[in-house]
């Protein structure tokens, strides 16, 4: 039986003072490794795999950036929720 896959697109504003630096990027990658869905970040017309730390760093996401998060998979809801939560709490910064 095939599990139902969903695609969830969210838009957020990055509040971290120093943007998505090493630590938030590391946090995102660690967080996402537990989930099966594919996750993408889109920033300034570029879309990258959010499970790749290099890809995130190369987006050079600054503070106040408008970021689109796309989650696609059978655990899309939970993944999105956890991810948005991490952004909301500024990754504990």
């Amino acid at each position: 039986m095939m599990k139902k896959t969903t695609k969830i697109v969210s838009k957020i504003r990055v509040k971290n003072k120093m943007g998505i630096h090493t630590r938030p990027a590391t946090h995102i990658v660690s967080l996402l490794q537990h989930y099966r869905s594919n996750v993408f970040f889109t920033y300034k017309r570029e879309t990258v795999n959010a499970k790749s730390i290099l890809s995130i760093l190369m987006l050079a996401i600054q503070r106040n950036a408008n970021l689109t998060i796309t989650v696609d998979g059978d655990d899309a809801e939970e993944t999105t929720q956890k991810l948005l939560q991490a952004f909301e709490t500024n990754f504990g910064e």
Binding site: M18, H21, P24, L54, G92
Partner: protein
């Protein structure tokens, strides 16, 4: 007998060392370009690449385990981030696919991919993001070494007292260096912000960069080289006499260091017995044991922005609380902690250095950040004598706004159930002429002043402090001295302590002058603490006052410098004077 010669460079980590040069040849690497002829060959190549990744990963884990045993938070954090990078799909799955797509060898594909990353990172106008490419290049070098089966130039194989000469030294090279074998670094390129410099400093390895290697072809057969990372030069083929002098200097440095180990019971006072409070300025929690035993009155300045610069991000309230708490608990003396002071040469991300958006203005703008720092400080204050210092205050409003925020933080914490004793002391950095002129008003609203002599000098005399070669003349400028005198006097009138911080406080030639202007407290780096204490004990308050009165008069700079020189020759013994010209 080859002649002795020196080459000047930039100091990235202080110290002096004599050793044998060892040239690390990372710059020249042949990247083969091979077309693979069959599907089988391509799959073999993918397999070979995966193996190289596994080996490199294993090596990094080994380094990390070793670092965890030997201690060194910066090194561990660095290696952890390297491990994340080496596990990145862009360096794994993507490269494997690219090998298949192009039917080329792994070295070629890896090199091409990393070159692509370099382009992207180079285009970023953000120093921190930019620095990440060094880490990626480092990892790429390691993978290439595995692919080419280059025996890891493990530093364990090097003879004792080796000084590494390289075009560039990667952070993991630095982490690999063992104290016994590798005693110095010399490179063509390198930056103070780099991880390598941070690791070198943490390890106490003298490091000079900016050396023009084309001048060094003559020393390929050199027996000895001296790295003088106090004056900023390397000496090739040093004569016996030079080697002897440097060994003497090393001895003296060792002696000084040993002195720090013994608690210094002698009181810190002038010849007349006037007590002078001598504190230590710090950037982090290294050397905590030495700080406790050196006999200082306490920590006069903890520059918390270094937590940001080293970690690459702002620490959380919890992280800050742990650090501040540890400091006050261990020290048991007053600890003055300055709120994040960011701007100008300590610019982190995205802040325009000339926008005036620095010091207290930055903090008041970034309320949440400021608030969480204040909360962490308040929480830690119940464990010891913690005092809060506000950076770059230029107006009464800024001080009042900060006090209001502090009060709010206190109330919030009490509401949450924390016990906050009486509010910790709150002081202002007086480092702007505007603040100096208003010091009478500021003194009424705060508990102490810290004079930031570097910035005060820069802003009042319009000189660029990063390029100050000889600024003794600037330090004794009558206009500047009058500003200092004003601040000290207003502090005295209001009954609040005034501490002198910055390079002037560390300058043995200027201590008497500062005491003569009324200074009763200084904050200096640990390494210079014993020297300054010696100088204070050799200073007569009266003579200092005479010197100050002379220099306060409008004299031409030449005359002022001569006066100062005459005073030093008369009142500071030869042996002590040698010490400070060398450091």
């Amino acid at each position: 007998m080859p002649t002795e010669f020196s080459v000047v460079g930039s100091i990235l980590s202080r110290g002096v060392v004599i050793g044998t040069p060892y040239f690390l040849d990372r710059a020249i690497r042949e990247i083969p370009n091979i077309d693979l002829q069959s599907v089988h060959a391509v799959e073999e190549e993918v397999h070979r690449y995966k193996k190289a990744i596994r080996e490199s990963h294993r090596y990094l884990v080994q380094l990390k385990n070793r670092a965890q045993k030997e201690g060194g938070e910066e090194i561990i954090a660095l290696l952890e981030s390297h491990l994340q990078i080496i596990e990145d799909p862009l360096l794994n799955y993507e490269i494997e696919q690219e090998i298949r797509l192009l039917s080329k060898n792994a070295e070629f594909v890896l090199n091409k991919t990393v070159a692509g990353f370099e382009k992207k990172f180079h285009a970023m106008n953000d120093a921190f993001f930019q620095q990440r490419i060094v880490d990626i290049q480092d990892i790429s070098e390691r993978i290439l070494d595995c692919l080419q089966e280059k025996k890891n130039t493990s530093f364990d194989m090097l003879p004792k007292d080796s000084i590494i000469f390289a075009h560039v030294i990667t952070p993991s090279d630095a982490a690999d260096a063992r104290r016994k074998n590798v005693v110095g670094f010399v490179t063509e390129r390198g930056s103070n912000l780099s991880h390598t410099a941070i690791v070198a400093k943490a390890r106490g390895i003298p490091y000079i960069s900016g050396i023009d290697f084309s001048k060094l072809s003559r020393i390929l057969n050199a027996e000895r080289v001296i790295v003088d990372a106090l004056l900023g030069k390397i000496i090739c083929n040093p004569s016996q006499k030079t080697q002897y002098e440097y060994r003497q200097l090393q001895e003296q440095i060792q002696q000084r260091y040993k002195l720090l180990q013994k608690p210094l019971d002698l009181p810190c006072q002038t010849i007349e017995g006037d007590p002078i409070a001598l504190y230590i300025s710090i950037d982090g929690l290294d050397d905590l044991t030495d700080l406790k035993t050196c006999g200082a009155a306490g920590i006069g300045l903890f520059r918390t922005e270094y937590l940001v610069l080293q970690g690459g991000r702002f620490p959380t309230e919890e992280e800050q609380f742990e650090i501040y708490k540890q400091l006050v608990c261990e020290m048991k003396t007053p600890v003055v902690i300055r709120c994040f002071d960011l701007g100008l040469d300590k610019v982190p991300v995205g802040l325009d250095p000339l926008s005036g958006y620095n010091g207290i203005r930055f903090l008041l703008e970034e309320r949440t950040l400021f608030f969480s720092q204040l909360r962490a400080m308040l929480r830690a204050s119940s464990f010891g004598n913690l005092q809060i210092l506000l950076p770059m205050i230029s107006s009464l409003q800024e001080l009042v706004a900060s006090k209001k925020l502090l009060q709010e933080a206190k109330e919030q914490l009490i509401f949450e159930g924390h016990i906050i004793p009486d509010s910790p002391r709150l002081g202002c950095m007086v480092e702007l002429p505007s603040a100096a002129m208003m010091s009478s008003a500021l003194a009424k609203e705060c508990d102490f002043f810290s004079i930031g002599t570097n910035d005060l000098m820069q802003y009042s005399l319009a000189i660029d402090r990063l390029n100050q070669s000889s600024h003794t003349g600037a330090s004794i400028h009558p206009g500047f001295l009058r500003l200092l005198q004003m601040i000290i006097e207003e502090g005295r009138k209001a009954g609040i302590p005034v501490y002198i911080c910055g390079e002037m406080a560390s300058d043995p030639q200027l201590i008497a002058l500062l005491i003569g202007l009324g200074a009763k407290g200084f904050s200096v780096p640990l390494r210079i603490f014993p020297l300054i204490k010696d100088i204070i004990r050799l200073t007569s308050t009266k003579k200092g006052e005479c010197l100050a009165n002379e220099l306060l008069r409008i004299l031409p700079e030449e005359a002022g410098l001569q006066l100062l020189d005459a005073y030093c020759k008369e009142c500071i013994p030869e042996s002590v004077r040698y010490e400070y010209t060398a450091s």
